[in-house]
Structure formats: C-alpha cells, structure tokens
C-alpha cells in the first residue's frame, strides 16, 4: 500500500529545485534577443571598457565646450546629448570636410558637425578643427573650434 504520509524532505527538494530553476534562468527566455548581441555581452563590454578606461566613457565629456552661450541655453537635454554624440562620432570617424548630422524631431532642432582639419601636436595628441551648425527655429547658428583627443579616448574642446 502506498505511503501517503507527508514527507517534508520532498517538499524541501521540490522547493530547492524550483528556486534553482528560477535563479539559473540566464537565457533569453520569452524576451529572446533576436538580433541583439546579448545582455551578457553588453555587460561584459561595459565592464571591460569601464575597467580599463572609465573616464573614456564618461558621456558628455565634450559637452561643456561644444555648446556654450546663447545656443546652449536654447536647446534641451536631448539636443545636447545628440550634439555631443554626433561631435564625438565626427571627430572619431569622419574625414575632414565630411558633415555628420543630427536631428531631434521632438524639439525640431537639428545640426551638423564637420571636421575641417586634422593635425598632431608636438606631444603626439590628435586634434581636429571643426565647424558646427545648430538650427533652432529655422535659424542656423554657426560656431568653430578645435577638439583634441585625450589619452583616455575622450575629446576635449580646447578653444570653443
């Protein structure tokens, strides 16, 4: 005859098994990363980059010098972020004379950054002269400056 007495250790095993199943679900599950590079990779990249060069990914490093004066007061945080990221992209990858645009449909503001000349200082630092246009309310605002690449990989505006 089957023993129907309650066995607590069975309950413990079932509980542990269930808990273990919950905590080890590291896979994508129902939110599968189709087309993504994987959450673990994102975490690994962030850890790797932060571990070696935390200052290099401090977003907005160039922001202070890039957007000053009246223009800086009239654009919002999203505009600033786009302008900053676009400038970094332009400085890093765009050949001189090539414009890299940004556009924020939420604010209606847009702009572009164009590196115009690249040179190396006596200390070996790479610098790029640039032109920037930010259009606010249909009115373009132009500025010029020089950005230099820092040892940590960030760009700093040296004479906005």
């Amino acid at each position: 005859m089957m023993d129907t007495r309650f066995k607590p250790w069975v309950l413990i095993l079932l509980f542990l098994f269930g808990l273990s199943a919950c905590t080890t679900t590291g896979g994508p599950g129902p939110k599968a990363a189709i087309g993504g590079i994987g959450g673990a990779t994102v975490g690994g990249l962030l850890a790797g980059v932060a571990g070696g060069h935390a200052a290099g990914i401090a977003a907005g490093t160039i922001l202070g010098g890039l957007l000053g004066g009246a223009v800086g007061d009239r654009i919002d945080a999203a505009d600033r972020r786009q302008a900053s990221q676009t400038a970094t992209r332009a400085f890093e990858t765009a050949p001189s004379g090539t414009s890299v645009p940004w556009d924020n449909p939420d604010s209606g503001h847009y702009g572009e950054v164009t590196p115009t000349r690249t040179y190396q200082t006596a200390q070996g630092q790479y610098c790029r002269e640039y032109q920037q246009t930010i259009t606010i309310g249909g009115q373009p605002h132009q500025s010029y400056g020089t950005a230099c690449r820092q040892p940590d990989g960030s760009w700093k505006i040296v004479n906005p």
Binding site: K31, G36, A40, T41, G44, G48, T88, E92, G153
Partner: protein
C-alpha cells in the same frame, strides 16, 4: 520541527551568495553614475543608448566607424559569434552604428527583465561582469 530548521538552513545557504553577488563594486558604481544622466537611479533607453554609443567608439579600435567581431572580442571574448552574425544585417562582417544600436536596443529589452522601460541597479548588476 526538524524539517523546518532544515528549510531555514537551506534558505540561508542559498541566499548568502546571492546577496554577496549583488554588492556593486566601486567600478560599477562609477559606471552607473556616468550613465545615469538625470540621477534618478535608473537607466532609461536614452541613457542606455548614450553610454552604448560611447562604448561603440571605444570598441572601434581602428576607427573605421564600424566594429568587427574581433574588436568586440578584444574587450569581451565570450561574445556568441552567431549573435554578432544576426546583428550584422548587411553581412559585411562588421556592425555599423545603425546595426549596433538596433542590436543593443533589443538587448535593452533583455536586460529590462520586468519590462518597466528602465533598467534598475539590480537588473544592470545581473549582466555586469568582468571579462
């Protein structure tokens, strides 16, 4: 009575390593602070894309405007190459900024386990690891 004690002991043994693993390192906290622009203690999609854009330019070692699998492996060797291949929609062996941002946008959803639209410290810490 004995099984209740056993249950409590088992739970204690399981919980201790989980709690220890969730203690963010100083490096993690610095990264979190640099990503959390509005200082609300959460990473939203805009903030996530901003920091991942910065990561893109760091990964792109040869500064050609695209990241190759080998460039990612230099930072994180455990990347699944098949996922890279799926993200590489034009099959040129590299991710341009568009392909990369599309991929990490999908990854945001994977990290955001509770579908809240923002990443919490706990969710972020779950994926954060030293290569």
């Amino acid at each position: 009575m004995r099984w209740i004690v056993m249950l409590i002991l088992m739970l204690a043994l399981i919980r201790i390593p989980i709690v220890v693993a969730q203690q963010p390192s100083a490096e993690f906290q610095k990264l979190w602070a640099s990503a959390d622009h509005n200082q609300d203690g959460l990473i939203d999609r805009v903030e996530f894309h901003a920091i991942m854009t910065d990561v893109f330019f760091f990964i792109d070692a040869d500064k050609d405007g695209e990241v190759a699998l080998t460039e990612i492996q230099r930072i994180y060797s455990q990347i699944d190459p098949s996922k890279f291949a799926v993200a590489d929609s034009d099959r040129n062996g590299k991710l341009d900024t568009h392909e990369y941002q599309n991929a990490v946008s999908i990854d945001f959803a994977e990290v955001d386990k509770d579908d809240s639209g923002v990443i919490t410290v706990q969710e972020f810490n779950r994926i954060y690891r030293t290569p």
